[in-house]
């Protein structure tokens, strides 16, 4: 099939790639644009490690057609840190030992970012709900929940100040 050009913003920069019309976004990000942040776990929407934000909305890149992202703004875990400064969620994941092998971490961070963007002060249950689409094999989830909770509580405290 003839390749089609796809253009979108990726972590704030304009990027373009040639993609098969049937290519999913994950393939284009990883193979076409060398953004290896989002991981390929299952390729069928069940593990969550490919999670990205498309126009601010949490999406599974493995189930998103790249061509449908024309003109969109895509955020991946690779754009989370501001230069050498980690995003508060990344910092919290580090402090709470929320990664072991790290394979789920890109998806967990992205899901957490999306959650806090729509609900800056989530309850524990809302946090669990926010990462319910993401499988982690190593941590038993507790450190991940604790890390997200700490950022949410910190942000909430900041707002009150």
């Amino acid at each position: 099939m003839a390749k089609v050009p796809v253009q979108f913003r990726l972590n704030g920069s304009d990027r373009a790639a040639f993609a098969d019309p049937a290519d999913n976004l994950l393939t284009v990000l990883r193979r076409g644009l060398n953004d290896f942040g989002p991981k390929y776990g299952c390729g069928q929407g069940t593990c969550g490690t490919c999670s990205v934000l498309v126009d601010g909305e949490l999406r599974l890149a493995c189930l998103t057609l790249a061509a449908s992202c024309e003109g969109a703004s895509i955020e991946t875990v690779s754009g989370m840190a501001d230069g050498p400064n980690l995003h508060p969620l990344q910092q919290a994941f580090m402090e709470h030992f929320a990664a072991q092998c790290g394979f789920c971490t890109p998806g967990m961070l992205t899901a957490a970012k999306a959650l806090l963007a729509r609900n800056p002060n989530p309850s524990r249950d809302e946090i669990i709900d926010g990462i319910a689409g993401n499988i982690c094999r190593c941590t038993g989830y507790e450190p991940i929940i604790a890390a997200i909770e700490s950022v949410a509580r910190g942000a909430a405290a900041g707002q009150r100040r």
């Binding site: 299952c42 030992f97 072991q100 092998c101 669990i128 499988i135 941590t139 038993g140 989830y141």
Partner: protein, 344 residues
């Protein structure tokens, strides 16, 4: 129809490492001209923290800051030989190999420093902050960096060390059947509280409490991380995961994550852990390491708790609702067993 609570416990004596043809690990350490050290291992860090633990062990033995040690585990083609990352052997075997390598490298480092300071190497100590000085005379000192540079560019010396740790193969005595395949055992005891629904057969883990004896805990946060994550995997193995079909026909076997069940973040149970440290005489700084035993006691403890709750003894894993319901039916109803050890 009711929900029955039950409590089960399990204890483990867990051997660290294995006995297949002996169980060697090798490590190589060398200094770079900037005074930093590279540790080469072929064992792989799967996320259990082996890089961090061997880095701590190397820094402590070399007598240099931890920031100045880099652990490279990249390549089993080019690295020194290792049996691998399994059998909970990482901390113990690789840690010991790293200590041996670091001792040798430290010896050369101090000799090179001695030559620069014109003193006897035996009189030198490290301060762990990147300096080497004469014992009792901190002003007569040289940095590790300057020493590495002098060795490299002036003395023509390689600051490096080799290490191996081997527990030789132990064969069985044909007369007595005796053997000694292991030198370090870790221990644990775990209590699980569950609730079993006699209508659906579903098991909810209400909470777990455990005590782990792991030798010296080299990195407390990472030990906790492994124990918490491993316990989740134990629950998962006890109640959900199987590559076998739940039903006799293989067509019903799991092919992907839609069918291969694993608990999600909403299924975790409150878990508290007490860590006991009884340093192993032959462990690196007394360490044994948690490893696989993070998950091991969870399975029998949950199986025992299910029996305690409804009187059904499930002998094959996972303990599915179907097996529980069949057991309850065979027994003519749920048969809660006597409770021990106080309220939930």
């Amino acid at each position: 129809m009711a929900r029955f609570r039950g409590r089960g416990m399990a204890s483990v004596n867990y051997p660290i490492g294995m006995n297949l043809g002996g169980d060697p690990s090798q490590a190589l350490i060398h200094s770079n001209p900037d005074g930093k050290f590279t540790v080469a291992l072929s064992a792989i860090d799967l996320g259990q923290g082996m890089k961090q633990v061997t880095r701590q062990v190397a820094a402590e033995t070399l007598g240099v800051p931890i920031e100045d040690v880099y652990v490279d585990t990249a390549d089993s083609d080019t690295g020194p030989h290792d049996m691998g990352s399994f059998a909970s052997r990482g901390t113990h075997r690789m840690g010991n190999a790293v200590i041996a390598a670091a001792r040798e490298a430290r010896g050369v480092l101090l000799e090179a420093a001695a030559e620069e300071l014109e003193v006897n190497a035996a009189d030198l100590v490290t301060d762990g902050k990147g300096n080497i000085h004469v014992k009792g005379a901190p002003s007569r000192s040289i940095t590790v960096r300057a020493t590495a540079q002098a060795a490299q560019f002036k003395q023509g010396k390689t600051i490096a060390g080799r290490g191996i740790f081997l527990i030789p193969l132990s064969s069985v005595d044909p007369e007595t059947g005796e053997m000694n395949p292991n030198t370090a055992f870790a221990h644990a005891c775990l209590v699980a509280d569950v609730e079993v629904d006699d209508e659906t057969g579903e098991v909810t883990v209400l909470g777990m409490n455990s005590a782990y004896e792991l030798g010296r805990v080299i990195n407390p946060k990472m030990v906790e991380q492994q124990l918490v994550g491993g316990a989740w995997m134990g629950i998962s193995h006890a109640l959900y995961e199987t590559p076998e079909p739940y039903y006799p026909n293989p067509d019903h076997g799991p092919r992907d994550f839609n069918e291969y069940l694993m608990p999600g973040p909403g299924d975790i149970a409150p878990y508290s852990i007490a860590i006991l440290e009884r340093p192993a005489p032959d462990g690196p700084f007394g360490g044994k390491g948690p490893g696989e035993m993070c998950a091991n006691p969870v399975l029998p403890a949950i199986a025992n708790a299910v029996y305690n709750a409804v009187g059904v003894r499930v002998n094959d894993l996972p303990i599915t609702p179907e097996k529980i319901l069949r057991g309850i039916r065979a027994n003519g109803g749920a048969k809660p067993q006597a409770r021990r050890g106080g309220a939930l």
